[in-house]
């Protein structure tokens, strides 16, 4: 299957190896991956902060770029960016033409783990990753997209990986986009609860499908000198050791 990758600005600039891992996993799963270099951002920060004019600009760009692709699916290593694409029609209000175009693009857009399990129908990508890992349910992925079982199925098939479920895996990490810097104390309080559950699980690695959550969690783990690592699910699935 030919897929078009939307790598997300966060992954592109802050953790590019997640992007490379995503490509590896998709190729290993038998896909041909295309990457349109014109892409930048899905506009989520603007939409979430209330700047719908700017969000509309980003949405139009995204739609225009991906309309030129003949790929069967658009795959994104991010639950929140995928959710944004699914919500593009909200920035178009009464503009029926753009709404339809948005919906068409949204219909073929998938978060990575959901794409692997639900579209390709696979849960074993032949990965090997030794260690004890736990999964954090990123909010948009879980509640907007319904992604819950897919990553667990994928992780349980990873060779050498002991998967442990943490308490309150489905509770927010406290990122919430600009919330994390508008109300940093509250964000940190929520984050500390998440850290507590991670430590309680005994895992040496926290895995998620969203680089933003991982940035929030790893930022605190690093600040408190914890040995626990964070990994994007793409990195685990691309791993061969």
């Amino acid at each position: 299957m030919k897929v078009a990758l939307f790598v997300t600005c966060l992954v592109d600039q802050l953790c590019p190896n997640v992007g490379m891992a995503t490509v590896d996993v998709l190729e290993r799963a038998g896909c041909t991956v295309t990457f349109d270099e014109r892409q930048t951002c899905c506009g989520q920060p603007a939409f979430n902060t209330g700047y719908r004019t700017e969000a509309r600009d980003f949405a139009k760009r995204f739609i225009e770029i991906f309309e030129t692709s003949d790929a069967e699916a658009i795959v994104i290593p991010s639950g929140s960016c995928t959710a944004m694409v699914k919500h593009f029609h909200e920035v178009f209000e009464d503009d029926h033409e753009w709404k339809e175009r948005a919906d068409r693009i949204a219909a073929k857009t998938h978060e990575l783990s959901s794409f692997l399990v639900n579209i390709l129908g696979i849960d074993d990508v032949g990965a090997i990753s030794n260690g004890k890992a736990t999964w954090h349910d990123a909010c948009h992925g879980l509640r907007d997209l319904g992604v819950h079982d897919e990553p667990r199925r994928l992780l349980n098939k990873v060779g050498g990986l002991e998967f442990v479920e943490m308490e309150n895996a489905d509770v927010c990490c406290g990122f919430g986009g600009t919330f994390s810097v508008k109300f940093p104390e509250i964000s940190a309080g929520i984050l500390d609860n998440k850290i507590e559950m991670i430590e309680k699980s005994g895992a040496d690695t926290v895995v998620a499908c969203d680089a933003s959550c991982l940035m929030q969690i790893s930022g605190r783990l690093s600040r408190i000198g914890s040995k626990v690592q964070t990994k994007h699910i793409a990195e685990i699935l691309a791993s061969q050791e």
């Binding site: 490379m20 719908r52 509640r143 810097v181």
Partner: protein
């Protein structure tokens, strides 16, 4: 008795104060931990929980879409049964009506059952100013009345207080001996309030549901104070938000299955009173007069769009508060509004004005836990996003233009322009890569203070608690280009 209460205008300050309070932290932790389990158990006993939610939401949608018709039917039937209906455009009008009714009975005190609508209109203040003593009878409300505070939760008003704090309060205000026994504290309240019930002539309550078909009001509780308030007194005044009407008597089944489970994890609360007008014979038990005060106070405005109209579906269960990670951190007082938590963040700006509460819609990570637990499926995140766009783009009345933030607005416009082509996007990130050398150490960015945090406030805010990642030396698109060669 009255202290200065935090307002929603100082939300960030309020939140910081709340976070620094370890006692509050413990109380809120207790709430969060117990809520999850109790709710799971309650749902398990409900049968088709999702079906119930859908049905309840459908009933509310239908009612709100035809609110004028259902209100007419409700008030006509209530009148036929002997109730007197009053209409209040706003809180002040409602308070004036209540005050006049109380004065007409020559009463100098009233017993009050817990009513959020009553809190909303600041009824106690108005009664006191009018020389009438309001006596709260719900245990949680009585506790905060003694403490001179406002409720911090829709269902458990004193949840922010520990047992010890309550005991100390009773020792100070009521003169009991120090104790840590909850039963002793409860029996103290029972004894004292009994005396007030015995002398009360006028009772004031809220309304959970008003049934259009029969003119019945339903009020539910666990303690029994509502039953006492509405059966021992001669005059019952009920304050009812206009959104509380539902079409049919049989509809009560759905809401009675959802509200107790969502609110307190119970299959049913201990008591429900279904009151239809007044007694038929003079020597029957109960009040001679029932006055229902129909309260608008900004509700009708919310009917103007289906998105905002769903705010009126709220049945005041408090589940969203219990599920909210933000509420769990800061409690209710920080919101500075009678309605805290997720539902509070969306109805406070709508009822009382955006400009006074413009921080509230932003005080959320948009996690959606509230939407998940809401028995009537209110899409609170969608409402928060809508309010944020009103605030950021100032699309409502000119007066609300005071909510726009020019600096932030400029920043987002720049972000959109710079990232409108991959060329300028890459350029901006190359610049970031250069500039971060000043603050990056060992592949990450630690605490950033001083001038830099003043120039780039988000960086200071982030790094106060968390390390920040650096922009990678090579972006994905550069790696991709290399791979393709």
């Amino acid at each position: 008795m009255s202290t200065t209460h935090a307002t929603s205008e100082t939300f960030d300050r309020n939140a910081r104060a709340a976070l620094a309070d370890p006692v509050l932290h413990g109380a809120l932790r207790n709430l969060a931990d117990s809520f999850v389990v109790r709710r799971q158990n309650a749902i398990a006993s409900a049968g088709d929980w999702e079906g119930l939610r859908d049905r309840a939401r459908a009933i509310k949608d239908e009612t709100l879409l035809h609110l004028d018709q259902y209100l007419e039917r409700f008030t006509e039937n209530a009148k036929k049964a002997g109730a007197t209906i009053h209409w209040a455009r706003d809180g002040k009008e409602a308070c004036d009506i209540v005050l006049e009714l109380v004065r007409a009975k020559n009463a100098n005190m009233v017993v009050k059952a817990k009513s959020m609508a009553g809190e909303e209109i600041h009824l106690n203040e108005a009664l006191e100013a009018g020389g009438i003593e309001p006596v709260e009878t719900d245990l949680g409300e009585w506790i905060i009345q003694l403490a001179g505070e406002t409720p911090s939760h829709i269902v458990v008003p004193a949840i922010h207080k520990t047992k010890q704090q309550i005991a100390d309060l009773f020792v100070e205000k009521v003169g009991i001996e120090q104790t840590d026994n909850v039963d002793v504290l409860t029996q103290t309240a029972r004894k004292i309030l009994r005396q007030r019930f015995a002398e009360a002539q006028v009772g004031v309550s809220g309304v959970n549901f008003g049934v259009a078909e029969t003119g019945t009001i339903l009020i539910l509780e666990n303690e029994g104070n509502i039953r006492l308030t509405t059966s021992l007194t001669k005059t019952h005044i009920a304050i009812m938000g206009i959104e509380k009407v539902i079409p049919n008597f049989a509809d009560l089944d759905v809401f009675l299955k959802l509200l107790p489970r969502s609110g307190t994890g119970q299959r049913l609360t201990a008591y429900q009173s279904l009151i239809t007008g007044v007694k038929k014979n003079a020597d029957d038990i109960g009040p001679d007069e029932l006055h229902i005060v129909m309260l608008d106070n900004g509700r009708s405005r919310m009917l103007a769009h289906p998105l905002t109209r769903q705010s009126l579906a709220c049945i005041r269960c408090g589940a969203c508060l219990n599920a909210c990670p933000v509420y769990q951190q800061i409690g209710g007082h920080a919101y500075g509004s009678v309605y805290p938590g997720p539902i509070g963040a969306v109805i406070t700006p709508q009822l009382f004005g955006l400009s006074k509460s413009k921080q509230l819609p932003y005080a959320s990570s948009l996690c959606g836990a509230c939407r998940e637990v809401c028995p009537v499926k209110i899409d609170i995140p969608a409402l928060l996003l809508h309010l944020r766009s009103e605030i950021a783009e100032g699309s409502t009345a000119a007066a609300e233009a005071t909510t726009r933030k020019p600096g932030e607005s400029f920043a987002f416009r720049m972000y959109s322009r710079m990232w409108s082509t991959s060329g300028t996007y890459s350029l901006s990130m190359r610049a970031a890569r250069l500039m971060q050398r000043v603050i990056a150490r060992d592949g990450k960015i630690g605490k950033v203070g001083g001038l830099i945090s003043r120039l780039v406030p988000p960086l200071g805010a982030w790094t106060a608690w968390r390390d920040a990642p650096v922009v990678a030396p090579k972006s994905f698109r550069e790696m991709w280009r290399e791979k393709k060669k």
